[in-house]
């Protein structure tokens, strides 16, 4: 079962007792990268990027609004992906990853709505309008809350995993609706400033600041999710000997 080829393969990290120490080693690096990139991104966003010709300074909300909105959509897709893997392959770690992602996705979803509201007031004259982009993003927040509430309400972890996976998969339909809403419907929200098939409609330094902040959000998400997944793994694998050993080491003040 544990042939050398097999244990060297990447798939061995699908086993919680291999993933747990790996996550513990990697998370601090992602957290450090997040910190460095956030400082760089804020510097670009506040001190290098010029004042916007039409919006003045308020546009600087973009450096968190867009990365947060991207993360909120992408994290949901990753959750749906892990849910699908979990349902098909019945791997414990997939469901853990999907549930470890949800609170961070919900946080970024709220941030996207909050910063959008604070940006909307001075530019559109309203904190909130029921347009397609805003409404579908609000629905995404409710999908996150529904997923979190459902997986926590069901006591049997296997049933909770499956019920959550179904919400994650069904709700994933909403993500392309959010993304394309500005093209499909006549919305107050502006179209994409950055897309694959045309030149970005903004100054290079603005774009750069936004991209650096987006990568920082990525790094932050990975670090936090790895840390959260570690606690969930200990919880779920508490009957195993290796968790027993980890706990004894922790009790003696050691690091695992």
């Amino acid at each position: 079962m544990n042939s050398p080829e097999r244990s060297r393969s990447l798939f061995r990290f699908a086993a919680p007792h291999n993933f747990y120490p790996l996550a513990g080693r990697l998370a601090p690096w992602f957290a450090t990268a997040a910190l460095v990139l956030t400082v760089a991104g804020l510097w670009l966003g506040f001190f290098v990027a010029p004042t916007d010709a039409t919006q003045g300074e308020v546009y600087r909300v973009i450096f968190i609004h867009v990365p947060a909105a991207w993360m909120s959509m992408f994290v949901y897709l990753v959750m749906a992906f892990w849910s699908a893997v979990g349902l098909v392959m019945n791997t414990r770690l997939s469901f853990i990853m999907s549930q470890a992602l949800a609170p961070t996705g919900a946080m970024f979803c709220f941030v996207a709505l909050w910063t959008g509201a604070l940006w909307g007031k001075p530019t559109w004259g309203a904190y909130w309008v029921w347009d397609a982009r805003l409404t579908s993003q609000l629905l995404l927040l409710f999908l996150y809350f529904g997923f979190i509430a459902l997986t926590r309400a069901i006591e049997d972890p296997r049933r909770a995993d499956r019920a959550g996976a179904i919400i994650a998969l069904v709700g994933a339909v909403n993500v392309p609706i959010i993304y394309f809403s500005v093209q499909w419907w006549n919305t107050l929200h502006q179209g994409a400033s950055v897309s694959l098939n045309k030149a970005p409609s903004m100054a290079t330094t603005m774009l750069l600041g936004m991209l650096v902040m987006a990568i920082a959000a990525w790094m932050y998400t990975i670090a936090v999710v790895l840390w959260r997944a570690r606690s969930m793994i200990l919880e779920r694998e508490r009957h195993t000997e290796w968790v027993g050993a980890v706990l004894e080491r922790e009790a003696q003040g050691g690091r695992a």
């Binding site: 001190f47 004042t51 003045g56 910063t115 604070l118 606690s231 508490r238 027993g244």
Partner: protein, 78 residues
């Protein structure tokens, strides 16, 4: 450099409330999430250690559904 002075920077061309309201809430939420995640780890370890001592190391290893001495239910997760 985009700003004539620090006060001009903090004023954000009159949009201070909107800009700093966005950044403030975002970083506060991220800090809160980090605190919650680190606290969850501490709580999990404390709770599982207590649980292991309560059930005894050997029966902690066996699964609850095997019968015999039932493993006490875990305190609910928070």
């Amino acid at each position: 450099m985009q700003w004539e002075s620090w006060s001009a920077f903090w004023n954000m061309g009159g949009a201070a409330y909107f800009v700093w309201g966005s950044y403030g809430v975002t970083f506060a939420l991220m800090a809160l999430e980090l605190v919650l995640v680190l606290r969850r780890r501490k709580d999990t370890i404390t709770r599982l250690l207590r649980w292991r001592r309560a059930v005894g190391k050997d029966s902690a290893r066996g699964s609850a559904k095997e019968g015999g001495t039932p493993v006490p239910a875990m305190e609910s997760e928070t």
